[in-house]
């Protein structure tokens, strides 16, 4: 199989071209990380996440919403906000009954469309 040339997406490695702007302009979009942490923590707790799970999530770089805020605000401030929200809101829960499905026998579904050239895909 022939090698495929992918476009070079890393801006640092692209050569400069004559029509590239030589100055960059950007604007600060002000936000409030403490508000973000409070709101997200409330949403998680209202969604049924427990307090230990929420705290663990805020330490995980895999979930950047809270982790980036922790990096930005620091551990002490983040833990203080989380503790305040947990004490104030508690953990929400609900009971769900979905109507039972009578027959759970596996069924074969056909959802593919024929190719235009008549061959299988």
């Amino acid at each position: 199989m022939a090698d495929i040339e992918y476009p070079n997406l890393d801006p640092r490695l692209r050569p400069a071209e004559p029509d590239h702007p030589m100055s960059l302009e950007g604007d600060v979009i002000s936000g409030d990380p403490a508000l973000l942490v409070r709101c997200l923590a409330e949403e998680m707790l209202m969604g049924g996440m427990s307090a230990p799970e929420l705290t663990a999530l805020s330490h995980s770089p895999q979930y950047q919403s809270l982790y980036a805020a922790r990096v930005s605000l620091g551990h002490e401030a983040t833990d203080r906000i989380l503790g305040e929200v947990i004490a104030r809101v508690g953990v929400f829960s609900s009971e769900v009954w979905e109507s039972p499905i009578q027959d759970e026998t596996p069924v074969a579904l056909t959802v593919s469309a024929p190719r235009r050239d008549g061959k299988g895909d």
Binding site: S30, G31, C39, F92, S94, R116
Partner: protein, 426 residues
């Protein structure tokens, strides 16, 4: 060009094909506040519809991190810039609003259809303002995912951008099955059609010749070209499920939610079918959860309504994001939406429990009232707190056959006390 009424803009606008047929319309509400960006919806769609050769770049459902992410890259910023250039300084909303005909006020700027009127480019006249994304822009579906700060890492070492404080949110997107689809309007082969039975917009693969006019015109960039078949493809709204043809979920032919909706881990999604009249307006029906959230309470808002396609995907905006950014994205209804969502009253809280509760589509719901079980101070968008009352209510959802398909009971919140502070606790 014929004139049609667009309730999201609060005025008539030009559209090549006149009013959409009345009947049922596919619609959905996403609660952005709860999205955790897990991409389960993306993969559910992918593994069902777009796993073939030539579909590698085809993500009918995607979740992008705003403000920096986007698929194709910078799709919304590019189109907003094009509209601003076509109508400089006038892409604004009028003050006022309210009522069923103009809930968000009146948009005084140009839609993508109006901006394209009289325009003739190298390839001839256009029905809608748009562009075809480059291969580069289609190459990275989750570029800048989880970026809440500047792109400083991606810049040359001598370049600097101002650093803004952390905020971002996940925006899940799919085809909005618009009431006035730009893809349909732009197709020179009339290969795209809107089904009267559910408002789903489909591309007839036997008619499509791959001119990519739909790819160019769709402002949300949800029509995508497939090189192996030479045709364009798009989200099909999982129509076999909408038709109740999956016997596992719909033993009696009840309409079921799509794959992306039913797989949602964060429970952010609620899909439905709403009644639309011959003028394209939603028929009043406050017992339909979609109608209640979108039209009655106006908690869920359309994505970029100013484009003019009357999208049928609606979003509950995130509470922590700067207001001007949200108003650009969702229109002037943001303030009203956030105030209601941040501290929902009894009925709204009950309706919000229906998100991701059932696989079958809920056509009607009712609430059985229970006693008040808690009062909880919650954070409002201005950082103040307000008391939310929690009731032990039960919300019941009914399917198209008016049979109960789900029942959700709200329970009292639980609090874990710190054992070190309460040493005598048992």
């Amino acid at each position: 060009m014929p004139s049609v009424y667009n309730w999201q803009l609060g005025r008539d606008m030009s559209f090549p094909y006149g009013n959409a047929p009345g009947g049922l319309q596919f619609a959905f509400v996403f609660n952005i506040n709860r999205c955790i960006g897990c991409q389960t919806c993306t993969m559910a769609c992918r593994s069902t519809w777009t796993f073939g050769r030539g579909q590698e770049h085809m993500w009918w459902n995607n979740v992008e991190t705003k403000p920096f992410g986007g698929y194709p890259r910078f799709w919304d910023a590019k189109l907003l810039t094009m509209l601003e250039e076509a109508n400089p300084g006038k892409q604004v909303w009028g003050k006022g609003g309210g009522g069923t005909d103009a809930p968000y006020g009146t948009f005084n700027g140009m839609t993508i259809f109006e901006a394209a009127e009289g325009y003739a480019g190298p390839a001839g006249p256009r029905r809608a303002l748009g562009y075809i994304p480059t291969a580069d822009e289609w190459a990275a579906p989750n570029i800048f995912e989880d970026h809440g700060r500047t792109l400083a890492d991606a810049l040359p070492s001598d370049a600097r951008l101002p650093e803004h404080k952390v905020w971002f949110f996940y925006l899940a997107r799919l085809c909005n099955h618009c009431t006035y689809p730009a893809c349909l309007a732009s197709c020179p082969r009339n290969a795209i059609y809107k089904r009267p039975e559910d408002g789903v917009v489909l591309i007839d693969q036997s008619r499509c010749n791959g001119y990519q006019k739909c790819v160019e015109a769709c402002p949300y960039k949800k029509a995508i070209f497939r090189s192996t078949t030479g045709t364009s493809e798009k989200c099909v709204g999982c129509y076999p499920r909408l038709e109740g043809r999956d016997p596992l979920i719909s033993p009696n032919g009840e309409p079921a939610e799509t794959r992306c909706m039913t797989s949602c881990v964060g429970k952010i999604r609620l899909q439905g079918l709403v009644q639309v009249d011959d003028r394209g307006n939603w028929k009043p029906d406050a017992t339909n959860p979609l109608y209640y959230l979108v039209r009655e309470r106006q908690v869920a808002l359309p994505l970029y309504p100013q484009f003019g396609t009357e999208p049928n995907g609606f979003y509950i905006p995130p509470r922590w994001v700067p207001r001007p950014y949200l108003e650009q994205m969702f229109g002037p209804g943001v303030q009203r939406s956030l105030e209601q969502y941040a501290c929902p009253d009894r009925e709204l809280l009950a309706c919000l429990q229906l998100f991701r509760a059932a696989q079958q589509i809920i056509f009607r719901y009712e609430v059985i009232k229970g006693p008040k079980v808690a009062e909880v101070p919650v954070t409002m968008p201005d950082s103040s707190t307000k008391i939310q009352e929690i009731y032990n209510d039960t919300v019941i959802g009914y399917n198209k056959l008016d049979k109960e398909c789900v029942r959700v009971t709200i329970k009292e919140p639980t609090f874990e006390r710190d054992r070190m502070k309460h040493a005598n606790s048992i």
